[in-house]
């Protein structure tokens, strides 16, 4: 059986809000499917060859780390973009997603997509969390051709002007900017979203979809498994009166 090779990219610094939970979720899903896999962890100073990997995960980071990562990841631009265009899976959560646009606050980014990310311009007045120059909200989103609402949290200091290959319609929460009700990007097998933290733990059906697609690409059968993840997800929907599509 084909071995699935996974990379947790900048694992030690891109981890601002429980993002490592996503790697736990991927690992558990592959265990449940009894698939042969490996997980590498690489960061600044390592020599990274994306040819080796089938799925890469990159999490949310603080703005200074994002600057370090931006500098570093540009070294791999050609190799990384080729691989994504070839169909390598890439999941970028939180502000990791900004690295794939054209620029971040005027500085050059990878340029896989056309959007530009810039500091949130409007000061959001919120009685509870006081004035903030960040887009902070609980999130409920919907994805095309997918029954299960996506739940999570937004908390980002930049916004972007992406209009293409939209990943989510946003029912509750901020979108790509203060007014957009759409968010994220999905093209090839690239998933980018401002949702941060343990997205794949909180959304077990989304994880199923991604793992199923990945395994199907290698003709590995996928079987759905019942889990506490799914019970917790349904319980959350019930708790917050969120309905399936």
């Amino acid at each position: 059986m084909k071995k699935i090779n996974i990379l947790h990219l900048y694992y030690d610094i891109a981890n601002l809000s429980g993002d490592a939970g996503n790697m736990m979720a991927i690992k558990k899903a592959l265990d449940e499917q009894k698939v042969n896999y490996s997980i590498d962890k690489l960061s600044l100073g390592d020599n990274i060859d994306f040819d080796k990997y089938d799925l890469v995960y990159l999490g949310h980071m603080n703005y200074e780390v994002q600057e370090l990562v931006r500098d570093d990841i540009l070294k791999y631009k050609r190799n990384l973009l080729d691989r994504i265009e070839d169909g390598m899976y890439f999941i970028a959560t939180g502000n990791a997603y900004e690295l794939f646009g054209k620029s971040i606050n005027g500085k050059k980014a990878l340029g896989l997509f056309k959007y530009e990310s810039t500091k949130v311009k409007e000061i959001i007045s919120d009685e509870e969390i006081q004035n903030t120059e960040r887009l902070v909200s609980e999130a409920i989103c919907y994805m095309k051709n997918f029954d299960y609402p996506i739940i999570g949290f937004y908390n980002h200091g930049n916004e972007n002007n992406n209009k293409e290959n939209i990943l989510f319609d946003v029912e509750k929460g901020f979108g790509n900017d203060t007014t957009a009700k759409v968010e994220g990007i999905h093209k090839y097998h690239f998933y980018g979203t401002y949702l941060l933290g343990p997205l794949l733990i909180r959304n077990p059906f989304l994880l199923d979809k991604i793992i199923k697609d990945l395994l199907t690409d290698y003709n590995i059968p996928f079987k759905e498994v019942d889990s506490l993840d799914k019970i917790a997800y349904r319980e959350y929907l019930r708790n917050f009166k969120i309905e399936l599509k």
Partner: protein
Amino acid sequence: MTFIVIIINKLLTLMINILKIFIHKDGSVLPGHIASKIDKDILNKLKYPKFVIGVTGSSGKGSTTRLIAKILKGNGYKVVWNNNGSNITNALTTLILNHTNPFTKKIRCDVLLLELDESSFYKVFNKNQLTHLIVTNLTRDQVARNGEPILVYNKVKDSINNKTHLILNADDPLVLRFITETNNTYTKYGILRYDTDYNKPYNDTLDSLYCPNCKKKLKYHFYHYGNIGSYYCKDCDFGTNPLDYKGKDINLTNNYMTINDHIVKLDHGAFFTAYATLAAYTTCNLIGIKDEEIMNVLNNDYKESNSENIFRVGKRRIEMIDSKPENALSYEQTIDYINEQKGIKTVIIGFDNVSRRYSLNDLSWLYDIDFEKLNNKEIDKIYCIGRFRYDVALRMKYAGIPDNKVVIVDNYKKVLSNKVFNHSIGNIYTVIFLDMMVPVRKALSEVKR
């Protein structure tokens, strides 16, 4: 005018204190709110005492402030301090005006000691007032409000000027950054190697691991918890050492530690108490209280600090620990504390809300805490309660804790005591948020067998 505002503040406080007998509401905010509505600059028109000490940081502010107040008062200082922990601007205004003489505008104390909210204290008074500022740590906390720790660092930095002497927990690289980006005088305190330290990080979810000067990854001699430990930069002199005040030989069974060469008692057997004690010792010593005078208070006037939250039901000892969600490192220390206690343990974990300040419920922080540490044979059962009990139970599952140890309790107010007392063994520790302390205590106290 200042006279009138002070009088109004005092009268309102008096009225609220009388009304308090009938309505149970915290009255610390309203008088200050009204006083600052009348004159928003009121706090800058007063005469401050010689020492105005601020205590800020993501966790440990309250216990540090309490210990400083205790040492100062034990040595005859008159201290005005926010002992109720109300640290927002209006509450501080109420407090200060209530202790100000309306005729002379003098704040009546030797030391004004304020626990300060790290992200809003710039609003309190102008930058000239603080003579000392203690920064306990800057870690992930209330992220919906604060964003990331580095933004809190920036806010604190912008809230002071170079007249304030900084007292810094040098074991936290983000706190120590003040010495690279400000010209303030400073004192560094830190804790030397301890038995349960890690030589490698426990997991990868650490903050600010790189040097603020060189942007290279910091090297660590050891980690106490999270990113708190002894670190250095290979390329410059940024690092924990040299320390001005060293904590060492910490004994959490008999509750004492050594600071420089002096043995002092800890009023709680938790590692964070060692930090609070060290910070308080450092501060009091710096403003002129002698070692012996500090030790006299800490070692003789001794009372367990969490005693009101420890009780028994039948043969079971129950210790309730107020655990604030979203503050991963503080929560983690609660887990460490439980692990340090001897014998078989039962743990109750839960929260109904993530925050008291806002209604946004981010659950990401659950994955910044090493609940994996609870996967050990001394843990008999973990009961998950509250609105997010399924999310908590799921985190326990990901931590590798066997299914038969994790119990999800629906409707805990009715069934918790039956479940816990009939189906678990050992001392009971509750890791719950403040808003559940009363109902959980009630649920556990009503034993129906």
